[in-house]
Amino acid sequence: MAMTARQRARVSLYVQAGIFVVAVVALILATDWKTISTSVFNFGKIGPMFPDIILVGLKNTLIYTALGFMVGLSGGLLLALMKLSSFPLYRWLATGYIEFFRGIPALLVFIAFGYGVPLAFGVSWNVTVVAMISLGMVAAAYIAETLRAGLQAVPKGQMEAARSLGMPQWRAMVSIVIPQAFRIVLPPLTNEVILLTKDSSLIYVLGLTASQYELTKFGRDGISSLGAGLTPLLVAGAFYLVITIPLSLLARKFESRSARTKR
């Protein structure tokens, strides 16, 4: 007997749910719970991680990320404006920068600014400075593209209205166009912060002292010292979520707010 379209859709849903349940059950059965409980979910032995995972690890992750974001945001804005410039040299420079820093792994950038640049110029940078510059340089490339899209999404009439009131180009940019562009790109910009938070872990290539550990390094250190297998990494991972999930919620709030203000 032929089914109606609605019946077919319902059957299809049941089949999909069934496959999902079977897959989960199979995974649970296949797991070696005995080993897992000592080497991954061994929460009995992680006591010594506290409170330093928060006072050192979380704190340093937040510091590296915040400094990197500051550099990335100002650099990104500069690059976005260069990319929209009528002066070709600026456009080429910005395009070259963006393609380069988006194209190479962030790890290489950390190595370059952690070892290469200090060697080349005979300077010595502390870890915080390297994290700030490396994260910032990479973030600037991504943020530049986001901001450029935001600047272009501001209607042309806004610039015309501002210029008609006698504002010079730069003043119209600063007071009228850029504030609106930032509102438009707030959700994708939050995304950049989340990516940056995770990339801050790459600082481990520099060889850190204990007080410079950020979350991932702190977790890796725990693997060797606590005898709880990979459990410390799991804890470190959980603390990333403590940062990133509120950011996501914040981004969603911005998004729904800007959706509401649109006519």
Binding site: P155, G157, Q158, G166, M167
Partner: protein
Amino acid sequence: MNDVVQNADDRGAVKAAGVAITDLRKSYGSNEVLKGITLNVEPGEVVCLIGPSGSGKSTLLRCVNLLEQPNEGSIHVGGFEATDPDVDIDKMRRKVGMVFQQFNLFPHLSALKNCTIAQTKVLKRSESDASAVAMRNLERVGLGHLADRFPDQLSGGQQQRVAIARALSMDPELMLFDEPTSALDPETVGDVLAVMRNLAREGMTMLVVTHEMGFAREVADRVVFMDGGVVVEEGVAEQVISAPTHNRTKEFLRRVLDPTHIDIAE
């Protein structure tokens, strides 16, 4: 409710500038949209530009404050020669208020801030002086009580009146209107036209691109009919609208004044 202040009869209350446009030409690539326009507007005069879309009237208006760069010819506004390559564009534009079809209010600023930002940033007025000027102009367009609203909390007609107040807050000597009522709901058109009528009475020089023939007939000193990038006919408003002499003007007016008319003979 019509909350526009009426009957303000103080002609000469504003300092007004004239405009002199001579043999103005403007092309986009090979497409010549202005083919030698000569037009004079006396200080305090109200001139309406009418004509079919694509006739170049908006482009002409936008050339006056250099939103479009003319290719040839000259424009004098107040004491400025707009077409001089060394002209201080920003200084000139302070004397020229512009009102757009799409309002172009700044959506991130309240109505009041829309009216103060250029005053403080360009004219370097203090925040309190600028606010006082802005409030006076918002009241002038009947919206003093909505000064704290943001553009998206205002109707189209209210937004356009804020846009007019914003332009007036710079103390312009000439106002340009680019189809100010074309994007409005019909019931809010009247409020905007009333504001413009008052402005005309106060002696502001106004150059208005419009399809509102009633407004042109009543308020304009002169009406200029453009088609295909040239001025076809110009004269006293009543005469051009009621008794046009050129065939193209007649044809255009018949279509605008009686849009439901179907020409079977053609």
